[in-house]
């Protein structure tokens, strides 16, 4: 008979314990939660699509379902919001009610300052019936400084450096608020494309003309790659997409025929958000080159079947 040493005893004990926990036998059941007990907390969704007539309420609901604003901001934070709002035509800029909901939620969350990273067009806030009630929130915003700084993009494929607004780098929380709309060059403009709003004309020109091919959209592969690369500069904590009313032609500037999905969609990454929202323009994620390119950068999952998606009505 083999003598039992201290080492062999520990080995056998470890094997028996591990086997018991991994096997589907009666012992392993002890490791499972009691089916009669308190259910495990529901996993947070990766993406929330809130549908309803009131864009403000839809936005608040989408943020709440994604974990609440406290998941994204803390008291004393400096928040940068990048909103696609420089275009005057209907359906070419984010519905201001969506932005006001984000701003109000952040202020309720106790943030110290909100930087508006790309100025809106004149009269933008007046497009919202809530602008009067939320006048103080609007007045509290700090707009573009106009200063840009050069940043390195080590993981960039086509874009190795870019100039971006200095204000972004002074914020510790970044929220990307885009509109799902048509774009004549890249077919779809959403959260990923919105990042170009951080850059001056000189950087954006490189996106378009960097390979010296004729035309603003002469090299779409390069343009889409640059957009994907630019998204490596700073990953947003929260991404919101306005799909209430949007242009389905003549984008990004408009005017053009309008589409409406009466939806506000929220996610923690721009890839999943764009992969979901491009459907409103009749597109699949792979039709929008920047989406797979950004996905390959590890910026988010474009495979919708692998996402926890929560759709709800408000």
């Amino acid at each position: 008979m083999d003598s039992i040493t201290r080492r062999s005893f520990l080995k056998k004990a470890a094997c028996m314990t591990g086997g018991a926990l991994l096997s589907p036998g009666p012992l392993s059941a002890m490791a499972q939660p009691n089916p009669q007990g308190t259910p495990a907390p529901e996993m947070k969704p990766d993406l929330v699509a809130a549908k309803g007539e009131d864009a403000y309420l839809c936005t608040l609901k989408a943020i709440q379902e994604l974990g609440g604003i406290e998941t994204f901001v803390r008291r004393g934070d400096r928040v940068g919001v990048l909103v696609n709002s420089p275009f005057k035509s209907m359906g070419a800029s984010v519905n201001p009610d969506v932005v006001l909901a984000v701003i109000e939620a952040c202020l309720q969350g106790g943030v110290k300052e909100i930087r508006y990273l790309k100025n809106p067009y004149r009269g933008y806030w007046e497009r919202s019936a809530r602008s009067g009630d939320l006048e103080n929130a609007i007045k509290s915003l700090k707009y573009e400084s106009g200063d840009h700084v050069k940043v390195e993009i080590p993981g960039g494929v086509a874009l190795k450096e870019a100039k971006v607004t200095k204000d972004l780098l002074e914020c510790n929380v970044f929220i990307n608020v885009s509109i799902a709309k048509h774009h004549q060059g890249v077919h779809y403009s959403g959260a990923l494309k919105n990042m170009m709003g951080l850059c001056p004309f000189s950087t954006n020109s490189f996106f378009h003309w960097g390979t010296l091919r004729l035309g603003w959209y002469g090299d779409l592969d390069h343009l889409n790659q640059c957009i994907a690369d630019l998204n490596l500069v700073k990953k947003p904590e929260l991404c919101i997409s306005d799909a209430t009313t949007f242009i389905t032609e003549n984008g990004p500037y408009g005017p053009g025929k309008l589409g409406s999905a009466e939806s506000v969609v929220a996610s923690t990454n721009p890839v999943s958000l764009d992969a979901f929202c491009c459907r409103f323009l009749g597109l699949k994620p792979e039709d929008v080159l920047m989406i797979p390119k950004a996905s390959r950068h590890g910026l988010g999952n474009m495979n919708l079947s692998r996402l926890r998606i929560k759709s709800l009505s408000v």
Binding site: S89, W216, K257
Partner: protein, 186 residues
């Protein structure tokens, strides 16, 4: 012939040629100092309807202008089609009334009436309701496109109310009246 020159001499030839061309351009600019000044925007701004012609409406802020490639800074990716078709300059303005309603007016001066016809087809297509403004005009749900001579004009509102559409037409007619077509233009 240049092609018969050895490589290093060919490079030298090209450098000298570039320097000569640069000197020529510089000397021309020196004797014609006005060439460096941007053309006046006044004639284009004069196409904007006067507030006195628009009861209850006034300009909302300063009109914005752009020339050539500057259009990309003004309207971003929307500039591509205009530049491709032959764009010269633009003025963009917004009018506001006492109720806070706004109407946007974009006037694009193209290089030729042919350029204008081409951009109009892209912007308006065969859609919308044909209306008698300029040489060709189409009214859509909340916007109006028309062309006259070398000018492509787009007006847009923020709703589809009848009153808004009436104002789009009224402002459009005023702009069309202010556009004079050079004699002999086909």
């Amino acid at each position: 012939m240049e092609s018969g020159l050895p490589n290093n001499e060919r490079v030298l030839f090209r450098v000298v040629l570039c320097v000569l061309i640069s000197c020529l351009i510089a000397s021309f600019s020196a004797v014609n100092p006005q060439a460096e000044e941007p053309p006046s925007q006044e004639p284009l701004l004069r196409l904007l309807p006067l507030e006195s012609d628009l009861k209850g409406w006034k300009l909302d802020g300063e009109p914005q202008t752009a020339e050539g490639m500057g259009l990309f800074e003004l309207i971003n990716g929307g500039a591509e089609e205009y530049v491709k078709e032959g764009f010269r300059r633009a003025v963009i303005a917004t009018y506001i009334n006492s109720e806070g309603k706004r109407i946007n007016l974009d006037i694009y001066e193209m290089l030729s009436p042919e350029s204008t016809r081409s951009i109009y087809r892209k912007k308006a297509g065969d859609k919308g309701t044909k209306v008698p403004i300029g040489e060709e005009a189409a009214l859509e749900d909340y916007y109006l496109n028309f062309r006259k001579g070398a000018y492509q004009v787009t007006l847009s509102g923020y709703d589809t109310q009848k009153e808004t559409l009436e104002w789009l037409l009224q402002i459009g007619r005023l702009v069309a009246e202010r556009i004079s077509i050079p004699a002999g233009t086909p």
